[in-house]
């Protein structure tokens, strides 16, 4: 039973607090010979596997590194580490930046070791997802077949569960947990308490702005830890 992450969304759909508690790191490294079985797609975040799942490498995974060299977006630059390790290479060093997909389609570069991984959310994406959730919450109550419905309280998938608690003042507290994690509502109510104690009573905090209060983060972490260990967010 795990709590993956915790978010606070303000009244206008802005993400004001995010905390990652335990996000599993999904990374796999393997050596391949030519030709590759994967079909790649160029995206903003780099080359993504579009077809050809095998050996635990799933559709949606990105290429993190090739032969131990980090990939930056869709490009890989082999010159940087080799010039440090090997002085002889420095003279030959020209522009060695390659397009990842082109590099992998060249049979002379094989065998090659590729590290794949599930892309992690960056700060910007979290902001986008928070505002998407804000509107999803509103639409869920518009499309209700029953009177007086609130928005989404609990969203379930086969891998995780998202619980949302909206305070009367319109602040949303979200927790992303394992499907078997119980008592998440108590955690969210507890975090509302912590929010009123540690974020709102902070004289340097202005309302609806991101929370940079270390005490809030610390106490939220404690509540999550205690929920995972004892099943109750109160210590």
């Amino acid at each position: 039973m795990v709590v993956h992450s915790f978010y606070v969304i303000n009244r206008s759909g802005g993400l004001i607090f995010s905390y990652e508690h335990s996000i599993p790191k999904i990374e796999l490294e393997k050596t391949f010979s030519y030709p590759l079985d994967f079909v790649f797609k160029r995206t903003q975040k780099g080359a993504v596997v579009e077809f050809g799942q095998r050996d635990g490498i799933k559709v949606g995974h990105t290429i993190l590194s090739i032969n131990g060299t980090q990939v930056r977006g869709n490009y890989i630059d082999f010159s940087a580490p080799s010039s440090i390790n090997n002085d002889d290479d420095q003279q030959i060093s020209t522009s060695t930046s390659h397009d990842v997909i082109e590099y992998l389609s060249d049979s002379t570069n094989y065998p090659v070791t590729i590290k794949f991984g599930r892309p992690r959310l960056n700060g910007n994406e979290k902001l986008i997802l928070a505002s998407i959730f804000h509107s999803m919450y509103a639409i869920a109550c518009q499309l209700s077949p029953e009177l007086n419905s609130t928005g989404i309280r609990e969203l379930e998938t086969d891998q995780f569960k998202l619980n949302c608690f909206q305070s009367i003042t319109g602040i949303k507290f979200l927790a992303l947990t394992d499907i078997r994690q119980g008592n998440v509502d108590a955690l969210l109510k507890r975090s509302y308490e912590l929010y009123s104690d540690y974020a709102l009573k902070n004289p340097f905090y202005s309302i609806d702005q991101p929370i940079w209060c270390p005490l809030f983060q610390e106490t939220v972490k404690q509540a999550i830890d205690s929920l995972e260990k004892t099943g109750s967010p109160y210590t």
Binding site: H4, S5, I23, P24, I26, K58, G60, R118, L121, E125, L129, I132, F133, S135, M136, I139, A140, C141, Q142, L143, S144, P145, E146, L147, N148, S149, T150, G151, I152, R153, E154, L155, E156, T157, D158, Q159, F160, L162, L176
Partner: protein, 148 residues
């Protein structure tokens, strides 16, 4: 326990079928607008879930709950979307939705030569509607409150 309504969407986003058994609140928009909103909503829920998930998903989005209803979602590999709204006490009904697809939809729509899979299912598909009503009202989750 209550079954509210059912939406069936084609993978191009068109609403193929809509049926309600009990609905206490109507939306302020026309039905066509409501279908578009529902389809767009489900689309964004799906992509939201896909991006937020900490691990790789298999079935993806299954359901969500509000304080008074639960939206159950089932998508076939061909892209047909089944959305069944029930009340909150219903547990996982994925197998029921799959059964609805495989026994009712496949048998009375797909196997019907007069009905193309792209067409909106209208009222002259009496046998489909009849079988669907029978299927839903035989469910354990469909209770007396629904029938009155």
């Amino acid at each position: 326990m209550v079954v509210y309504n059912l939406y069936i969407f084609h993978r191009n986003g068109q609403c193929l079928f809509y049926r309600e058994w009990l609905r206490r609140k109507q939306t302020k928009m026309t039905q066509e607008e409501e279908f578009k909103l529902m389809n767009g909503f489900i689309y964004s829920v799906k992509s939201f879930v896909q991006r937020l998930s900490p691990t790789d998903l298999k079935d993806g989005f299954l359901s969500f709950k509000t304080n008074c209803y639960k939206l159950n979602y089932y998508e076939t590999p061909t892209g047909l979307k089944f959305i069944l709204n029930t009340d909150n006490n219903v547990s996982n009904i994925r197998d029921i939705l799959h059964q609805l697809y495989s026994t009712i939809f496949v048998n009375y729509i797909v196997k019907n030569p007069r009905c193309s899979a792209l067409d909106i299912i209208n009222n002259d598909q009496e046998i489909f509607i009849e079988k669907l009503d029978e299927f839903i009202s035989n469910l354990s989750i469909f209770s007396q409150t629904n029938k009155t």
